[in-house]
């Protein structure tokens, strides 16, 4: 068990345990902050998997964008004077059964499947290669995502905007 492994387990532990908190904490703020750790953990995984660029993007977009957005959402939907940030849970038992079965099934399959494993070179810097791919093979998707973001912008604005 080398350093790599130890780091993995560390990240895995952080990711999973904070994810557990995310989905179980009563206080929504706790959940949000746990999500931060989860996202960090996942970013760490990316690093371990040799995709530094994705890790950075993960941090920037998720932590810097999505998470902040969520926290804003929490704040906007709870009046300051009447902070009701605790939230309950519903249908725990069926959910637990379903999720446990799902998890066991998934883990069994993940471990028992004969995956296509081929040791290959790990690129040192992925950013440039990614950039190239993005503008050649995936240029179509790239453009599409542009429009998607525009749509998101327009849509979010349209919905969230205060009506006169």
């Amino acid at each position: 068990m080398g350093l790599y492994d130890i780091i993995f387990y560390l990240f895995a532990l952080v990711t999973v345990s904070s994810a557990v908190v995310v989905v179980s904490a009563k206080n929504i703020i706790y959940s949000a902050f746990s999500l931060l750790f989860t996202l960090f953990g996942v970013a760490g995984m990316y690093v371990l998997l040799g995709s530094d660029f994705i890790a950075i993007v993960q941090l920037m977009v998720y932590v810097g964008g999505i998470l902040i957005l969520l926290i804003f959402g929490v704040m906007l939907t709870n009046k300051v004077t009447n902070v009701e940030i605790k939230s309950g849970s519903i249908q725990l038992l069926p959910a637990l059964i379903g999720v446990v079965v799902l998890a066991v099934l998934l883990i069994m399959l993940m471990t028992n499947t004969n995956w296509h494993i081929q040791p290959g070179v790990i690129p040192q810097t992925t950013t440039k290669e990614l950039g190239k791919l993005l503008l050649t093979d995936y240029v179509l998707v790239f453009e599409l995502l542009g429009i998607l973001l525009l749509i998101a912008l327009v849509g979010a604005a349209s919905i969230a905007r205060r009506e006169e």
Partner: protein, 103 residues
């Protein structure tokens, strides 16, 4: 077994996925549900990157992860907008209480 390989990442992603779904179906607060969705997407992303790394499929997996992250952002934005709007109309955001449309 302890030697970290593809399976390990996959197990982590599986757990994240399961937890994500758990969060989605159990949390009352709409925003917490959204967090669950993010967990789901993250788990898929781990898969993509891990498969790309271990299967030597090139960088495609990473690209997919990138797309998904962007998409997740867009989705989160719209979802939050909808939640905010819901809050304005219903003055509540507990998903289970928003059930006027049924049967």
């Amino acid at each position: 077994m302890l030697q970290v390989g593809l399976q390990h990442f996959l197990i982590v992603s599986s757990i994240l996925f399961a937890l994500g779904i758990y969060g989605i179906v159990t949390r009352k607060n709409a925003i917490m549900v959204l967090m669950g969705i993010e967990l789901m997407l993250n788990s898929a992303n781990i898969n993509f990157v891990a498969f790309a790394r271990y299967g030597n499929f090139g960088l495609h997996g990473q690209i997919y992860a990138l797309f998904v992250i962007i998409l997740a952002a867009a989705e989160a934005a719209i979802a939050l907008a909808i939640v905010l709007n819901l809050y304005k109309t219903f003055a509540k955001i507990n998903v289970d209480e928003v059930n006027n449309l049924k049967e």
